[in-house]
Symmetry: C2
Amino acid sequence: MKKIESLENQKVKEWSRLKEKKYRDLESKFLIEGDHLIEEAQKHGIVLEVLSLEEKNYPVPSYLVTKEIMKKLSEQQTFPQQMAVCQKLESKNMEGNMLILDGIQDPGNLGTILRSAVAFDFANIFLSSSCVDLYNPKVIRSTEGMFFELNIVRGDLVSMIGKLKEEGYEIIGLDMLHGEAFEPENISEPYAFVIGSEGKGLSKESLELCTKFCYLPMSKNAESLNAAVCASILLYEMSKRRL
Amino acid sequence: MKKIESLENQKVKEWSRLKEKKYRDLESKFLIEGDHLIEEAQKHGIVLEVLSLEEKNYPVPSYLVTKEIMKKLSEQQTFPQQMAVCQKLESKNMEGNMLILDGIQDPGNLGTILRSAVAFDFANIFLSSSCVDLYNPKVIRSTEGMFFELNIVRGDLVSMIGKLKEEGYEIIGLDMLHGEAFEPENISEPYAFVIGSEGKGLSKESLELCTKFCYLPMSKNAESLNAAVCASILLYEMSKRRL
């Protein structure tokens, strides 16, 4: 392992830049923290470099760093023993049913949705450009390492929905004010669910483009559900239908 | 409205203490932030005092305060226009089905679970002593004001489960490793679901005391679900059974 002790080291500066979305986009790399995430990322062959507080063997270039360096790079109050630089995931062709996230802002919510998607075998996720960055450290932490096998694409919502409609997808907006009570039996394939943002729900664009709306039946005392809960219930229900 | 400008004012010191659980417990009071939460709390008659950045009429003692004071009291990066001191909720007698939270640590998860409980008409929540404080500002923010109508009791898990078992409750632990796949039809009333903590799942005590275990069927690629998602799916499924 190569030893790095200075915060001014060129490598440390490179890694540190990956805390910003701009540089993550430029270099197609991102940081992950802790053993568990590194193990999961290794299974998917995307780990490029490891930095560690202790001597250890890794199958990729690895660096022995100081606590000060780890502290500088970590987003957590208690910094981890290991971090890694990973290559961003490649998006495959989207085929089959899809979950479209329209402006999800909270990193914890996005991470939780991705974790539920893995749990309920739902592979295709589309993020509108207004969503929080997939490679935001808080998003990645909330997934608990469960998102590397998903097929995630980020892009323009309007053109994506347009394309899906041409291919005959049913575009189902989740909305408290429109449509019918959600019933898995009433959903025909291929379909895309559209989940709106935490504060504002579905965007104007989605409201115009959806071919159908539905809601989860709930108490009249309730105004809305957490966006991650709402998405997770849909995916759970659809997974039960497949059983 | 009485005007307060000094951070050293006795009232400001009193309010500021409510940022700590110790003083919230001592005085049976807690702080809430923002119009929406204050409105919800007023509906439930628990608002004791309001502090505001602007002159306004309130049916309770109210104080015109400075931005510096608001900033000192708020837990958010962007401080609100209004805050209020509320009286803690009174616990009513627990009757009917129950959700037991065994060591939930994340304030966002607890808030999300309470919000789902309101949405799916599930009134009785028991928090083990190891759970995060219900009146933690982050918990309250995550509920989006949807918890004032719930019946929430905090206490010793072992004696609570013991009491429920004597009353003939089925005690159903959610666990990835034990029991049968969750089926609403197989649950007999009265019942209590037990949801374990984010990191460790069910505590040793719960594992010993539950009368039944079940799990949500999921992909073999998934290790677990977010605790709030898990609890919300159960409550949603049970609410559908009642329809």
